[in-house]
Symmetry: C2
Subunit: 279 residues, 2 copies
């Protein structure tokens, strides 16, 4: 399966402007015929699908250097959306400016704070340049384009350079090339059938010794591999957590369905966030 | 033990300006006679102790609403410092302005983005006011004071209002009163003896099914309670993690020292970050 089949012109919401890494991820999952809906914040992305302004959403969930995007874990537990696919995008950062602008003319560098943090080595070389935090990488290219900032550059994807007709001054300026982001595609619950080799669940446990150990035993006893575990605080219950777990297992398999039934004997809260393929 | 005994005028580095919540935490742990060293970033705090500009440091490690301060977990693994004490501070946010300024005159609200995010309910009531992100809560009070910004207010602690001679316009404006931050005091390795009822460790495992389950078994088999588990990505090894675990156990107890020896039979990396008392 090359792409997840959806009707042409299906609207897919994502955070950032056209050219954002999330848009690359949505094309990889759904192919080129979807209609992108850029949103300013992750809240807006979830609201767009919950409020039916978009059919689907694509969100980053984890970066191999920066770690989990915790806000999106919290939004997953607040909204009634399901994961229907995942993909991985290698993050390549480029220094982008107006055509004709040279590196010597640059006085300011705009980008998302995480992108600025991932290009420390190059930024130390250009230490006289002012760093400006912006809400999005692609949006920073759009901004210096639209405001005609000829002494500014932005750090973003090569897609963003192409979309806004800008020039790449330096390519691959990230400190660490092992820089990947994992994205999830989301849909309203029940719209897609659970189908894939990966299952994501969220659960809450009694706050007692050995509780997490017992919960993980349901997978270990059945040789089900966990690819990720993340804990997030429960608001209003200081030092209690929800656990988000990714399983390398199909929810329809006998061992996975048994494990999840076994798990529910000990959870205070349990929800399947999705069972989905990888693109 | 009311405070952790340190020589008078011991220098304690923390992130933020005078009046920061971290300074409150350092006073709670060490008492009033320490000399505060405000730092701009968490990196600066760790560097201050590593480079001997400060004797000790106090850092926030987790907030009951926002979750872990991941940057500080990463800095703990990069620097050779040890945890020597912990404390919990209730975070009360206040709207602070120049004496004589009224709420109607305010056009801008400055604070740290996490503080702004924790006062959404009040900020929605004052939705015409511009929100300005600043690097520190107390620092935003200092800024509007020093720049004479009479149409601006800051969100910060009552300590910050007192220190900079400013007025509290609205008290306790946080959305959720169950808002606590846990702080750790840090010292160069070997300077203090391990002594306390809580032990923090960090370890890395082989990436294989059941690895985390087996690791947690060393504690479950001995009825040692985990109060917190946090995973952070290992740079350069996508989708591999270091696990940070807090144990409600004294490292000198037989069960804890046995558990840690048992754990090291299966870890690729293991380090004790400290065993310490709570203040």
């Amino acid at each position: 399966m090359k792409h997840l089949q959806v009707p042409a012109r299906t609207t897919v919401a994502f955070q950032g402007d056209l050219g954002a890494f999330s848009q690359q991820a949505s094309r990889r999952i759904f192919g080129p015929s979807i209609k992108p809906l850029p949103c300013v914040t992750f809240d807006d992305v979830f609201e767009a699908v919950s409020g039916k302004k978009a059919d689907l959403a694509v969100i980053p969930i984890e970066n191999s250097l920066a770690g989990s995007i915790h806000q999106n874990f919290d939004l997953l537990s607040r909204h009634s959306l399901e994961a229907i696919a995942e993909t991985y995008v290698r993050i390549e950062h480029n220094l982008i400016a107006h055509p004709g602008t040279t590196l010597r003319q640059i006085k300011q560098i705009y980008s998302h704070p995480v992108a600025l943090a991932q290009c420390q080595r190059m930024l130390r070389k250009w230490k006289k340049l002012e760093k400006v935090s912006f809400y999005d990488t692609a949006g920073s290219v759009k901004h210096i384009r639209e405001c005609g900032l000829r002494n500014a550059a932005a750090i973003a994807s090569s897609d963003a350079a192409r979309i806004y007709g800008m020039k790449i001054l330096a390519r691959g300026i990230e400190d660490n090339r092992e820089n990947y982001t994992r994205f999830l595609a989301l849909a309203p619950r029940g719209r897609f059938v659970h189908a894939g080799k990966k299952t994501t669940i969220v659960f809450g446990l009694r706050n007692q010794p050995g509780a997490l150990f017992k919960a993980l035993s349901v997978f270990a006893l059945r040789n089900i591999d966990l690819s990720k575990i993340e804990s997030r605080p429960i608001h209003g219950k200081p030092w209690e957590y929800l656990f988000y777990v990714d399983l390398r297992s199909d929810i329809h398999s006998r061992e996975c369905s048994n494990a999840l039934r076994h798990l529910q004997e000990m959870t205070l809260y349990f929800r399947v966030l999705g069972c989905y393929p990888t693109f």
